[in-house]
Symmetry: C2
Subunit: 361 residues, 2 copies
């Protein structure tokens, strides 16, 4: 059932399904979105439902060979932009391609929805107006998936919940663990709490309280992880509040760019080093590829009652295709049901612990 | 009065003073500590008070030319280790070199104290048992100073206060701004709040509330800064809670190490790239030096009632010397008085704003 992590190599799509795709999502929409959908339809045999401006989608589709593919167009009169404010756009753009695409999932007309559009608007549209939360979920979380040491690592929350309570962090941990197992295909994934020290007493009050609960649940909780441990792959699931998670992500991106800039400046500063720079250019290209995330291309919005995969705004057609592959993995892993059951199980375990602590059982 | 930022070049020490030095501080104590003190005494003409194990200090001093230097030894029977737990060691090691050194400042026998020892213990010893807080300070902050684009940038809090209230963040901003101006010699330093977006509505509740207050104070507040802006030098003072600040710092360190490792692996993977790697080696050494912090060597513990400079545990003698230079800058910038006055001024400004908001004036 598990189909593993996608890439530019031949990937296993598993069973055919219906995926709604936001044609108006990426920065260069609808070009990479439509091409990515066509590629995915060709490789998977699945039905792709392109949601958005019908004329634009039609004229984009003409550029590709689509004979024999299962493609449908679902018109939506509005589009979300990257500068749209989530609370406002989610509420007022009721016929946006995001809104319409998520409704298809809600109504059972599609198995999953993929967008490379505005993450905040996707979050608000899903949570408040269309799919709503899986019963039992306190707050859905945004995730990103990186490859570290050739293994996928899922990070959540990456920005939806700046101030996160301990009980939300616990749910992020459970949802991330389920996604890692059911969709990324990792067995017994290790769950770590991002903190400023390995010791259990390190971290904010919320982190310390969450750690206390997590160590009693039947998940593979490896305790607090510092950034250096995150980057050496000590955990498969890295949990944090949305503020710190977003700072971690942005600091990683900014640091690698900062270091690359310094290296380039120093290398181009002399004759020998410039020659050396030419010789290492292919190696540096491989480095850049290793750091880029497009091999994964998309990560789930976890906790909403339907499979939603969000890709980078800068996605190219391959990244869109890979995000659609993620959607296939999530649907086949039955993650919605698994999250519902997993949260229920954890709540039961917490109840047992509370009763034991109270001396009742 | 301002003597600028120190380095391995000739530095301006300003007036002579008395600096207490923790001889038992660094990972390799007392070797780099004592040598750094000797170097500083020679360059500055100041009096260095070596605090710690008298025998160990004496035998270490014999390795150096000390004729004509103003050196004193102040015995302390206990030493702090890197594994000491702050709350316990600060309380129970009343004759530690940190405790004794800070007492010298408290009693007016030294103008400043420098240690490359356990930061947490230094914080607790200063705040709870020796120097205590400057009147008006809610929480002292740990800082670090990086050079970004050849300019010093001070970051605080870096780990002392995991959960920080908005009013603490405001005080960190004021203390950092005063240190940047009076001790680092920056004119009208730009103060930024670390956040996950530039917009004022981004961030935790504490960040948003602090931003609201800071924009009304008479400091050069540039608003929220994201990690990429921090690393492009958009602010001279970067303010955050201790948890996020520590994660930022550790993610930066981990990311640069991660990238360096990937680059090394890729470069050594082929003949041409290996040759290229040899040719760029001097350039890469300059890159490493740029990222290292020992040109700054030490950062202040801000908010305690006396000048305390904390260096890396891994400090060599140059880093210790530079940290002692930081102490000179801080004393000559009269930062303790400046912080006391600055916080008072800010409190008055906040009162005026509150009265105006209430329609009273």
């Amino acid at each position: 059932m598990l189909v593993g992590i996608s890439g530019r190599y031949q990937i296993d799509w598993g069973k055919k399904m219906r995926v709604a795709l936001d044609a108006m999502g990426s920065d260069n929409n609808p070009i990479p979105d439509v091409e990515g959908g066509v590629l995915a339809a060709r490789e998977s045999g699945s039905t792709l439902l392109f949601v958005g401006d019908e004329q634009a989608i039609r004229s984009e589709l003409k550029k590709h060979k689509t004979t024999g593919l299962n493609l449908e167009i679902v018109p939506a009169s509005q589009a979300i932009t990257m500068t749209d404010i989530p609370s406002i756009a989610a509420k007022e753009k009721g016929d946006s391609s995001m809104h319409v695409g998520m409704r298809l999932v809600k109504d059972g007309l599609a198995d999953a929805f993929m967008t490379a559009g505005n993450t905040g608007v996707a979050y608000a549209t899903a949570m408040l107006y269309t799919l709503k939360r899986i019963p039992g979920v306190k707050r859905p979380a945004l995730s990103v998936i990186f490859k570290i040491a050739n293994q996928p690592v899922i990070f959540l929350d990456m920005g939806a919940n700046a101030d996160s309570k301990a009980e939300w962090l616990v749910q992020f941990a459970i949802m991330g663990q389920i996604y890692a197992e059911k969709s990324l295909g990792l067995s017994n994934p290790r769950v770590g709490l991002l903190s400023n020290g390995e010791e259990a007493e390190k971290g904010t009050q919320a982190v310390r309280d969450a750690g206390e609960i997590l160590q009693h649940l039947s998940i593979n909780f490896v305790g607090n992880v510092e950034p250096k441990e995150v980057l050496s792959g000590r955990a498969d699931v890295v949990v944090s509040d949305g503020f710190t998670g977003n700072i971690l992500l942005k600091t990683f991106e900014a640091s690698t760019r900062y270091l690359s800039r310094i290296i380039r400046d120093e290398i181009t500063g002399g004759v020998f080093s410039s020659l050396g720079g030419l010789l290492i250019r292919p190696a540096m290209k491989r480095v850049k590829k290793k750091i880029d995330t497009d091999e994964i291309g998309g990560a789930p919005l976890l906790g909403v009652d339907g499979v939603v995969i969000i890709g980078h705004g800068s996605s190219d057609a391959y990244a869109v295709k890979n995000a659609i592959h993620q959607a296939h993995c999530a649907v086949q892993g039955k993650i919605i049901e698994a999250i519902r059951d997993g949260l229920q199980k954890a709540a039961n375990e917490e109840n047992v612990i509370a009763l034991q602590a109270g001396g009742i059982i």
